[in-house]
Amino acid sequence: MLPTQNSGVEGFCRDCLVPSRPGAWRCASCGSPRLVAHPELDRLSIAHVDCDAFYASIEKRDDPSLRDVPLIVGGGKRGVVSTACYLARIHGVRSAMPMFKALAACPQAVVIKPNMEKYVKVGRQVRQLMLELTPLVEPVSIDEAFLDLSGTDRLHHATPALTLARFAKRVEDEIGITISVGLAPNKFLAKIASDFEKPRGFSVIGAAEARTFLAGQPVTLIWGVGKALAGTLERDGIRQIGQLQSMDETALMKRYGIMGQRLARLSRGEDDRRVTPDREAKSVSAEVTFDEDIAAFARLEPILRRLSEKVSARLKKAGIGGRTVTVKLKTQDFKTVTRNRRLSDPSQLADRIFRAGRELVERECDGRAFRLIGIGVADLVPAEACDPVDLVDEGAGRRAKAERAMDAVRARFGGEAVELGLIFGTDRRGRDR
């Protein structure tokens, strides 16, 4: 628990939004215990807003009979948990957990297949409300975003903190889901704060306490410290952020490269990344988890083709293409294999993406069975730089023309109006249709 809530300074009530007295435990006006107070409350303006159990909350909103049962949103018997509601989380269900494990932990849970269309719609509604607060909204995913509310005091006739509390209330009233807010001097701390008091949280980390607060936290809290780096740090005897704080930036850089610099700065709560609204995508990818493991290349091939077409469609829609094709395979024992290849020219064509990916996948098909396959492109460039006509590869030119013709047919008659023989009669998981 952060040492900030209800401290000896003025704050406000998150339910009725009236100011609270220093040291108060309940709102004098409405009696709510949801007070927020912090010495720096009026000065902080970088926020991280995260929807609570987003998919599950939406499903519960739309079907009140689900309200009091543990709910898991996720795909099929072989899929993974996309979102678990807080009731399911009590039983130990977590996001990204394989469904069989989740159901073992919480057999009484109701499982719902994700309805992405609906979630995207709700996500947009939330984003719309955010944009009423500030143009500086940087989406991180469908259900979370950073907001920079600096200089909005006069516009909203309220401090950023109060504006955010108002916003949280509005999302609950108008959209019917709850959010958690983290308010801090920078993105790194805001993100940590929003995670602190979920659900319906409102946490504040001030500049003054950042160092002390971080000192006792594990290094994995630092953005960019994954399993591998955490392991390296552990071998070097570093587990807590406090240990990094006492180390010199240059020394850390010598040891861990550019990551060392990040470790040094973030450990002290310093983060100068800005909230940038139109952060460009770095890659475009698609993947699918199978109902049962697949080892045969012949069965992976049509699935990969379908994924390539999905990626290609998104690239074409965005008017971009990519230079590097990456395939991802997850083996039976959950090991992830990624392989990539640089194309001679950037491409947005399903044919080129698929062909590059197919070779990479074929090489990995040595009898191992896979539970997931994915393909993506990175090093994105504008469409104009993509797929120049090749002097010698006439086949590629013909296939490119065929693909453009297929796109035209699809644009007119729908997505499945014309398909390659390779994927005809199968669905996205490679099953017969």
């Binding site: 120049p388 006509v389 002097l391 010698v392």
Partner: protein, 380 residues
């Protein structure tokens, strides 16, 4: 083995062979150069399993024999020894050390047995002919820049040498392409090359050929088998007794039917001063941040305007007087590719044969030419 050689001879020869040796090797013997002393000469040989270079230098052989030592190391040692020094190479009886002595310097180098050294020369070379080093160098120089580096199309990773019937005579032709541009250079087919199969000589070998041509007057012997090529560079200059022999594997693949790519009906002819053009392209492309951004060529009415626009930094234009009498045309090219080709043209005037902004453009020298270049336009 015990042998004494002149530093200058050894250095020159090591310089030829050591380049073949990869700096990083997983197979230890491939880091080494083979030294064999017999019959009044010291023979050196280095290989990377795809390519082998060997050469012999005059030597006083006190005790014939052979061994191998780290190629880059002995090269560096010999390079640092005093000019004019006599170098003595002697193997110790332990079979593991080579002593190298020159003046007051002494080195002991670890050896690996010469029996482990791979041999690439096996096989029958059914086709033999020879051509002048200058001709060979020209064919290679004109086309080398267009070799593809794309691994997936390995058959484009070299120069395609073959003979063709053209204009009533047999021509010996070199072609390279990476799909964006194509370069073709040719000469009258040397006697003995008729009937030779088309061969693809890999990029690394091409680079070595360029470096091994020292005396343009010398003859180069060419031998071709199904899977290999052997080039014998006749001894050039003072001190070289033996020839340098390069043996290389060929790329096992089929070179595409490139003939269809070369435009025949491009009727819009543009003549421009080669050096002015290259300098102008170089200048305007300064504005583009990436290498090889598109430069737009606007031709019409006796002038050519080059334009580069970089949305992040600005724009540049330059105008040149040209000979052009066809309809006005806008066409874009990769600036680096234009410079590469301009660098290969031999006449002061460059000739562009254009069709339309989406079709391949033909570029060649003014007048009679043994080389031509095809360039794919870019969208601008």
């Amino acid at each position: 083995m015990k042998v004494t050689v002149e530093r200058a001879h050894l250095l020159k020869s090591l310089n030829h062979v050591h380049r073949v040796v990869e700096r990083r090797n997983t197979i230890p013997i491939l880091s080494n150069v083979l030294l064999r002393a017999e019959g009044g000469e010291l023979k050196l040989k280095a290989t990377d399993l795809d390519l082998e270079v060997s050469e012999a230098i005059p030597a006083m052989v006190a005790e014939p024999g052979a061994t191998t030592v780290p190629a880059h190391m002995i090269y560096d040692i010999v390079r640092k020894l005093q000019d004019g020094a006599q170098i003595e190479l002697a193997t110790r009886n332990d079979g593991a050390t080579l002593d190298l002595k020159a003046g007051r310097s002494k080195f002991a180098l670890q050896m690996l047995p010469e029996t482990d050294f791979p041999d690439l020369t096996a096989g029958t070379f059914g086709h033999r002919f020879s051509l002048s080093a200058a001709d060979l160098k020209r064919l290679v120089d004109r086309t080398q820049f267009a070799i593809s580096t794309e691994e997936t199309r390995y058959y484009l990773n070299g120069i395609y040498f073959h003979t063709v019937e053209a204009g009533g005579e047999l021509r010996f032709r070199a072609v390279a392409t990476d799909g964006h541009r194509l370069a073709q250079a040719e000469m009258v087919a040397p006697h003995g090359s008729e009937g030779m199969p088309g061969i693809i000589v890999p990029r690394k070998t091409v680079g070595e050929i360029q470096k091994l041509v020292e005396d343009p007057e010398a003859k180069v012997g060419v031998e071709v088998s199904d899977s290999k090529i052997r080039l014998t560079f006749a001894a050039a200059g003072e001190g070289a007794t033996g020839a340098v022999v390069l043996t290389s594997k060929l790329i096992d693949g089929t070179f595409p039917e490139y003939g269809r790519v070369i435009p025949q009906g491009n009727d819009k002819e543009l003549k421009v001063d080669r050096d002015e053009f290259a300098a102008a392209v170089d200048r305007v492309s300064t504005i583009s941040s990436e290498r090889g951004r598109a430069v737009k060529l606007t031709v019409g009415d006796g002038r050519l305007v080059l334009t580069v626009v970089n949305p992040d930094s600005g724009s540049a234009t330059e105008e040149l007087a040209v000979e052009y009498e066809s309809d006005p045309l806008d066409i874009g090219f990769n600036s680096r590719y234009l410079l590469d080709i301009a660098g290969q043209l031999e006449t002061d005037t460059a000739v562009f044969r254009l069709a339309d902004p989406g079709s391949p453009t033909l570029i060649h020298d003014f007048g009679q030419s043994n080389a031509l270049y095809v360039l794919m336009p870019m969208r601008v």
